[in-house]
Each structure stands twice: as structure tokens, then as C-alpha cells.
């Protein structure tokens, strides 16, 4: 794994330089610099309140920041994103197919899901083990099912960079293993770069190519065995 990582890390997909985020006078991130190498699984770890999600939000362009974030795209430049939380209004009548069709057809989803989009959605759900869930309402899905729907959304079309914010939170052992397999397949088979916020140091040590330890600033950055020592 580490040898492969060294060869993969030769070119970066994301360069973050001197990133500082201040919200309401409070400094959430200070002078953060890191490089995400193409085709690797890069983990961001750190205690609660360390600024991990803030860093993700800055990379996604959701919040204002000082510093520079540079992406080097080679393929479609698509970012797949699985957020930490996805609070669904329990009374909102939106099905899994409606949700996935929102970005996969031009026709307004309130006029129905088109045949082409429906076929594509069927294949996407099958890939994440949710075949037949098209007509389920989002609001009745369990946390794990919802996360799989979000992962299906993030992986289609195949992104160049996949960002996951604590994707394994609340998942049992089997589900975590399944998620791990999906992410490793995306990296190794599909050449997707994975940037993941995680609390699971053991898994990061096993499969991560590089780790950045954050506590409002970069505490350590390097190979998992060194950074998490």
C-alpha cells in the first residue's frame, strides 16, 4: 500500500496554502497548508472542534477564507461530496429517485423522473446495495441508507475528487467495512482521489496514504504511521 502511495503521490490534485478562516471574530483555522496527492486516500483527523469540517467547507467554496486553494483537474473536475449531516424534513415528500434525479435530468423532477434518469438511478442504487429503493421517501430512510444514497449521488458521474465528512459515523462494523471497500475500489480501480474526515485512526492507518492531523492548525502531516504515532 505504501509503495503504491509513493508513486501515486507524485502529482497533487489539491494545494491548500496558508488557509485561515475567521467567523464572527473567531479563528477556526489558522495558516493551514496541505497537499492532496492525486489518486490517494488522504485523511483529515483531529479532535472535535479542530476545524475539519471548516476545512472541507472552505475547499468546497462554501465559506469565506484567506489564503489559497488550488485544484489541478485532469478529467471532468467533478467533486463528489458526502456531507456529515443531511437533515431531511420528515414531511417532505421526496423519494430517493426524485432526489437523485435532481442533478441527472433537465426536466423538473415535479413532472416525474424520466426513463433515462430512472435507468441510471437504478444502476446507481444497485452499486450501493439499495436496489429497489427508488420509490422510498428520503425521510423514512435510516441514517446508514441515507448515507449510501448520498454516496451513490457522489459517485455518479465518477468524480475526480471525492470528499467525505465523517462518512462512517453511526455505522456498524459491517457497514463500515462495506464503505471502506467502496472507497478503496474508487481509489484503486477508478483512480478517484479520496479526501476524508475521519475519527477512526485504525482504519486510517490501515488504508490511508496520507494523514493531516488538524487542531485549528496543522499539527502533523505525513504517512499515517508517522503522523498518528
Amino acid at each position: 500500500m505504501s509503495g503504491g502511495a509513493t508513486s501515486r503521490a507524485s502529482l497533487s490534485i489539491l494545494d491548500v496554502s496558508n488557509l485561515t478562516v475567521r467567523i464572527d471574530g473567531q479563528t477556526l483555522l489558522s495558516d493551514v497548508s496541505l497537499t492532496v496527492a492525486r489518486g490517494t486516500l488522504h485523511a483529515i483527523v483531529g479532535p472535535n472542534g479542530a476545524g475539519k469540517s471548516t476545512l472541507v467547507n472552505a475547499i468546497l467554496g462554501q465559506i469565506r477564507f484567506d489564503g489559497r486553494i488550488l485544484a489541478h483537474w485532469r478529467r471532468n473536475g467533478r467533486i463528489g461530496y458526502v456531507p456529515q449531516s443531511f437533515a431531511v424534513d420528515r414531511t417532505l415528500p421526496v423519494t430517493v429517485a426524485d432526489f437523485l434525479a435532481l442533478t441527472r435530468q433537465r426536466r423538473p423532477v415535479c413532472f416525474g423522473v424520466g426513463r433515462g434518469a430512472a435507468r441510471r438511478i437504478g444502476a446507481m442504487l444497485e452499486r450501493v446495495g439499495l436496489a429497489g429503493f427508488e420509490r422510498r421517501q428520503l425521510s423514512v430512510l435510516s441514517g446508514g441508507e441515507l448515507r449510501r444514497v448520498l454516496l451513490a449521488h457522489a459517485l455518479d458521474p465518477l468524480p475526480e475528487l471525492l470528499i467525505l465528512d465523517e462518512p462512517a459515523t453511526g455505522l456498524d462494523q459491517t457497514a463500515s467495512q462495506w464503505l471502506e471497500d467502496v472507497l478503496l475500489a474508487a481509489r484503486d480501480r477508478d483512480d478517484v482521489t479520496v479526501l476524508m474526515v475521519s475519527h477512526d485512526h485504525e482504519r486510517v492507518k490501515r488504508h490511508g496514504d496520507r494523514v493531516t492531523v488538524l487542531d485549528r492548525r496543522v499539527v502533523a502531516d505525513g504517512a499515517p504511521a508517522d503522523a498518528l504515532a
Partner: protein, 352 residues
């Protein structure tokens, strides 16, 4: 338009249409309902999804202030659109701008704007009533069919088409942004643009609906249909269909009640929509047991609708034929978007 009204009133006199349509102003009102309901019904389910119900109430109040302003600057009492639209647009921009900039909760900020525009509206209304009869202003507060003109109808048609086309164009990004702004952002949507865009469409729709529904009640028609639809809809398509259907039934029923019992149109329409809300609430609750499943079943619904059509036909109201046809449709295809509740499949993430 005169020949069209003559044709419709002729149909009413010959019994093809209900007797209420013998009056041209009611025909005009019905045309307004036909245009208003898809527009407001379509907007309403996004208003509720984007949690903008209180925002709509504030816009209704802003429209009232706009009417007073329009009258004060010399606009005709029958069509103070410049004042209404101008002030509503100003209030919309102000509310969205401050909401995006401030860390205060949106309902608190909108409450501030609501109080401001209501206070200003009352002050201006007193000034206006020195020049106009207060009963003339009442028509704008509560809605009145008698004051609706063909020009209003044409304006409603033009705005309705523009709003529906723009809404259809941006519907998917708007819904995704309502569900998860970060995900919508990653997919390339501009949250700021969507906020202003939707608020602008809402302001435009409220302004042109005002003469029918009234400034104080227009907010109800952009909230209640979607709330009622939520009780029974099972998909985005069902949500839209039910929102429009509830708005239409409330609008058409309100018109007839307003005409027969001489009550303000807006109040009658809103009462109809509220009644629809409670009916769907009960239907939604029943939907969880076997009786509800039977009532929601396509055959029961089809038979009920066709029977209602047959009753109309027996009373020589030929429009009942449409209901019979609708009943046949429901019998064959069922309620739009009602297929839900498939068996959970256990997987690595649990059975759900």
C-alpha cells in the same frame, strides 16, 4: 373578450355550466383561478420546502404598504401595481440581503421587516383613506372579484407564464438547495442567486394575485395548499399535483361561495384551502390503516369521482362529463405519485 364572456354565460344559461357562470365577472374570476392556481400551487410547495411561509406573510404586508404608496403617488385605485411591485421588490431584496448577511435566525429578521412594513402601511393607509373611501381599499385588503378587470387578467396571464417557465427552469436546483445547500453548491448552484430568484418570483406572484385574494390573505394561498399536499403526497410529482389541486379546488370553491353568500373572495378561498388541509390531514392519517388504503386506492377514488360527475350530469350540468372522464382515469391509473412503501431490503447498513 366580450364575445367569449357571452359564449360562456350562454353555456351557463343552457345548463352546460353551473348557473353561477351567467355573470361575466364570475367567468373572469374563474379564469383568474385557472391561472393563479398552477402558479401559486407550484410556488407553494417550494415555499414550504424552503421554509419561507413567514417570508410570504411579510410580502403580503409589504404589498399592502405598496398599495398605499401607489395611491399616494397618484396611481389609479384599480391598479396600483407600480407601488405594490416597487415596494414588494424593495422589501424582498432587503429581507434576502439581511437574512444572508446576519447571523440572527431568519424568522426573527423577517419579523422585524413585517413589523416595519405593517407600521408603515398603517400610517400610509390613514393618509390614503383621507383621499379614498376605506371600502375601496378594503377590496385590496381582502380581495374582490368585482374590481378585477380584463387588464388584470392579461397581466396575470403574462406574469403566470413567465413565473411558471422560470420556475420550471430552476426547479431542480431550487429543490436541491432546499434539501442541502452544500450539496447544491457542489453541483454548481449559486445559493445566493437562488435565494434572490425565488424571492423575486414570489413577490411577482403575490402582487398579481392581490386583487383576487387580498393582501391579508394571499400568504395563506402560498402556504396552505402545500401544507395540505404534504399530508397525502408521496413524491415530488404528487406534491406538485396535490398543491395545485388543493389551490384550484379552494379557488373555484371560494369563488362560488363568495358569489352566493356575498363574502370577500380571499376569505372564502382561504377558508376552502384550510378545509382542504384538514380533510387531507384526516385522509393522511387514515392512509396508515386499511380503510385509508382502500380510500386511497385508485378504484375507490375513480368510482367516487365518476359518481360525482354523474350527479352533475343528472342535474343537466354537462361539465360533469369531465369528472366522469377523470374518474375513469383514476380508476385506470390511480393517484399521481401515490406508489410508495416498498419492502425494506436488509443490507450492510441495516434494514432501515
Amino acid at each position: 373578450m366580450t364575445s367569449f364572456y357571452a359564449w360562456v354565460t350562454g353555456l351557463a344559461r343552457s345548463g352546460v355550466l353551473p348557473a353561477d357562470f351567467q355573470y361575466p365577472f364570475l367567468v373572469r374570476g374563474f379564469l383568474c383561478v385557472l391561472l393563479l392556481t398552477p402558479m401559486l400551487g407550484g410556488l407553494s410547495h417550494l415555499v414550504v420546502a424552503r421554509r419561507m411561509a413567514f417570508f410570504s406573510a411579510a410580502l403580503g404586508q409589504a404589498a399592502l404598504t405598496g398599495v398605499s404608496l401607489g395611491l399616494l403617488i397618484g396611481e389609479p385605485l384599480n391598479s396600483p401595481y407600480a407601488g405594490m411591485f416597487g415596494f414588494c421588490l424593495l422589501a424582498t431584496l432587503g429581507m434576502v440581503y439581511v437574512k444572508r448577511r446576519s447571523s440572527l435566525p431568519p424568522d426573527t429578521l423577517i419579523g422585524v421587516f413585517l413589523a416595519l412594513s405593517l407600521g408603515l402601511g398603517l400610517v400610509l393607509l390613514v393618509a390614503v383613506t383621507r383621499q379614498f373611501n376605506v371600502h375601496q381599499v378594503e377590496a385590496i385588503l381582502f380581495g374582490s372579484l368585482l374590481t378585477v378587470t380584463d387588464s388584470d387578467l392579461l397581466l396575470l396571464l403574462a406574469v403566470g407564464v413567465v413565473v411558471m417557465v422560470l420556475l420550471a427552469r430552476e426547479y431542480n436546483p431550487l429543490l436541491l438547495d432546499s434539501l442541502s445547500p452544500p450539496l447544491a453548491g457542489v453541483e454548481g448552484s449559486d445559493s445566493r442567486f437562488l435565494d434572490y430568484f425565488f424571492a423575486f418570483l414570489l413577490a411577482l406572484s403575490i402582487v398579481v394575485s392581490l386583487k383576487i385574494i387580498g393582501a391579508l390573505l394571499v400568504e395563506a394561498l402560498v402556504v396552505v395548499p402545500a401544507a395540505a399536499a404534504r399530508n397525502v403526497a408521496r413524491s415530488a410529482r404528487g406534491y406538485l399535483v396535490w398543491s395545485v389541486a388543493v389551490a384550484f379546488v379552494a379557488g373555484a370553491g371560494g369563488l362560488i361561495v363568495s358569489n352566493r353568500f356575498l363574502v370577500p373572495t380571499g376569505a372564502a378561498v382561504v377558508l376552502g384551502a384550510s378545509l382542504a388541509f384538514f380533510v387531507t390531514l384526516i385522509a393522511g392519517a387514515l392512509g396508515r390503516d386499511s380503510l385509508g388504503r382502500f380510500l386511497r386506492g385508485r378504484r375507490a377514488a375513480g368510482i367516487a369521482i365518476a359518481l360525482a360527475g354523474a350527479v352533475l350530469l343528472a342535474n343537466r350540468m354537462w361539465i360533469g362529463a369531465l369528472l366522469v372522464a377523470a374518474g375513469a382515469y383514476f380508476f385506470k391509473f390511480g393517484w399521481p405519485g401515490a406508489r410508495a412503501g416498498q419492502t425494506s431490503r436488509p443490507g450492510p447498513f441495516g434494514p432501515g
